[in-house]
């Protein structure tokens, strides 16, 4: 068991109790510690199921040789609570994960569950709220907050219990573009500061593009795992399984069609910009 793996899935199978069709069929992947991994796939491909398997909200099929390891610990029914200490999930709908009646209460919810003494709680709550830039809202009620603010509170609530892994389960999908940018910026800062491992499940191509590694899921199977630049170069594969491609790649395709071929190794936004500027000079 290598120590720099945060999450390991080996031959994981999962079937929901009320259906015959398996949602996940033999899923294998590894997430490195301290990395940002994006999970992409079309609707119903099993992305959210994976996030729930990681912290034991769901357990894999019993009669399979599925094995999930989180930070060196096997996920089984007995130790799900230890796992949940280390894994924090920010869910999709900002309204449906707000437990407390005020911001402070909500951030403290995870601490209350861990029997943290009140004096410490007050300190921690203030600290994490200032980290996500929401300290002035400590007594606000959720009805008076925007979706982006609620998601920041959700992140604060997770930071309060100091997890090692944060899972973003389509956390930005219900936010407007500015709310989305803010959340991602906060996550990137925190990730660097606290050596967090981030797994983001997303439809947002730009969010996936920020990752160190992208896992592509199709109908319960992993069909590829690679760096975003390489994954998004496989435009035909992505189109086949119904996924969008980033703007840069769309532009390259459009250039290709009109007769301007771009070298295979130039695929990031800046590289493409430079290449096109050079091309312009030559003409």
């Amino acid at each position: 068991m290598s120590n720099d793996n945060a999450i390991e899935f080996k031959h994981v199978k999962f079937t929901y109790p009320d259906s015959k069709k398996a949602v996940l069929k033999d899923v294998n992947f590894v997430v490195k510690k301290g990395s940002w991994t994006s999970l992409i796939g079309h609707n119903g491909s099993g992305k959210s199921t994976i996030s729930k398997l990681i912290n034991g909200l769901l357990l894999p099929d019993e009669n399979s040789d599925s094995k999930i390891t989180v930070l060196g610990t096997n996920v089984t029914a007995e130790n799900i609570w230890d796992i949940r200490e280390k894994v924090g999930i920010v869910f999709q709908n900002p309204d449906n994960q707000f437990v407390g009646a005020t911001v402070g209460d909500d951030v403290a919810f995870g601490l209350e569950n861990r029997s943290v003494p009140r004096q410490e709680m007050i300190k921690i709550v203030r600290n994490v709220l200032s980290e996500v830039g929401m300290l002035e809202y400590i007594d606000s009620e959720p009805a008076n907050l925007s979706g982006g603010q609620k998601q920041r509170i959700a992140i604060a609530g997770i930071l309060a219990v100091e997890p090692q892994i944060i899972i973003l389960d389509e956390s930005t999908s219900m936010l407007d573009p500015s709310g989305r940018k803010q959340i991602l910026k906060i996550i990137i800062e925190l990730m660097k500061k606290k050596q967090l491992t981030v797994v983001s499940i997303t439809h947002d191509i730009d969010e996936a593009n920020m990752a160190d590694s992208v896992i592509v899921l199709n109908d319960g199977e992993i069909i590829d795992q690679d760096s975003p630049v390489k994954i998004f170069n496989k435009t035909t594969m992505l189109k086949q399984i119904g996924l969008d491609i980033p703007f840069t790649n769309k532009l390259i395709l459009a250039l290709d069609k009109s007769g301007v071929s771009v070298p295979q190794n130039l695929r990031t936004k800046d590289e493409l910009k430079q290449y096109l500027c050079q091309l312009n000079l030559k003409i």
Binding site: V99, G110, R118, E141
Partner: protein, 276 residues
């Protein structure tokens, strides 16, 4: 946004939960537990009064409490207004049907006697005082604080194995979702209106039928929210109320001593001037 707020305001103002008015007077600084207890005891103390002097004393104390809130008289008038019909109806029943003492006027089964007049006035005062003093409580205490106070008052029930912590969590989640569900109801109503539903027309049956397209989506939405919320709670380490610590605590202050002394003085005066 402005329109949404306005609509919610009008919906919310019809129920007690929206009636909290923020302020900074003496009554606001009191602990909600003290306020809740004293409100209940005050209502009981009203029944100690049985002659003009004691009624005058308790009315005076009630008005002192109202002044101590520092709110406009209009707020309290709004508290009494919806129940004014009931107050007059009860008082009139007393007036016409109470017999005994000197009879001023008599016709068929109706009569106005000195007892009747006295009792009608007493009932009128009692009713008004009960409404006024509970208004003092509800306008100066946030619903959340009332829930906390109720939890504290329920604590002795733990001896009888009543799950007080769980009830408290249920109350606080319920209160937290009141505005969310109001918003959702409004959204559903507008969505149904935009495809032709009419909620304000027709007879009783037609109107009752028009509620179905609001209620069914609202129920489904509530259940979905509950599932999402429980998943989120579990993933944040919630495994039942045992061993949880509390972030929000209530603190007794010197203002609670003042109000307690105030109440003891009131009961003392009532007991002295009460006729036996």
């Amino acid at each position: 946004m402005g329109l949404r707020k306005m609509c919610r305001g009008s919906l919310m103002s019809k129920i007690i939960i929206g009636r909290y008015i923020p302020g900074d007077s003496l009554v606001y600084k009191m602990d909600p537990r003290g306020k809740l207890l004293i409100t209940i005891l005050f209502i009981l103390a009203i029944f100690l009064a049985n002659n003009p002097i004691t009624y005058a004393i308790i009315t005076f104390f009630c008005f002192l409490a109202i002044i101590a809130t520092g709110l406009k008289a209009r707020v309290f008038w709004n508290g009494v207004k919806p129940l004014i019909g009931l107050i007059f109806f009860t008082s009139l029943l007393q007036l016409f049907f109470m017999t005994g003492g000197h009879v001023f006027w008599h016709w068929w089964i109706f009569s106005i006697s000195s007892y009747g007049v006295e009792n009608a006035i007493y009932i009128f005062i009692r009713f008004t005082l009960i409404i006024l003093i509970s208004t003092v409580m509800t306008v100066t205490t946030m619903p959340l604080e009332i829930a906390d106070a109720m939890e504290w008052l329920l604590k002795p029930l733990k001896i009888f194995k009543v799950p007080v912590d769980k009830i408290a969590l249920v109350i606080s989640i319920a209160l937290r979702f009141v505005p969310t569900l109001f918003d959702e109801t409004l959204k559903i109503m507008n969505a149904q209106r935009s495809r032709g539903a009419d909620f304000n027309d027709g007879g009783l049956i037609k109107r009752a039928k028009a509620i179905a397209p609001i209620l069914i989506p609202l129920f489904i939405h509530s259940l979905e929210t509950a599932i999402d919320l429980s998943t989120a709670m579990e993933s944040r380490g919630y495994r039942g109320s045992a061993g949880r610590t509390k972030y929000r605590v209530l603190n007794w202050s010197k203002y609670d001593l003042i109000s307690l002394a105030y109440f003891i003085l009131l009961v003392g005066l009532l007991l002295i001037f009460r006729t036996h």
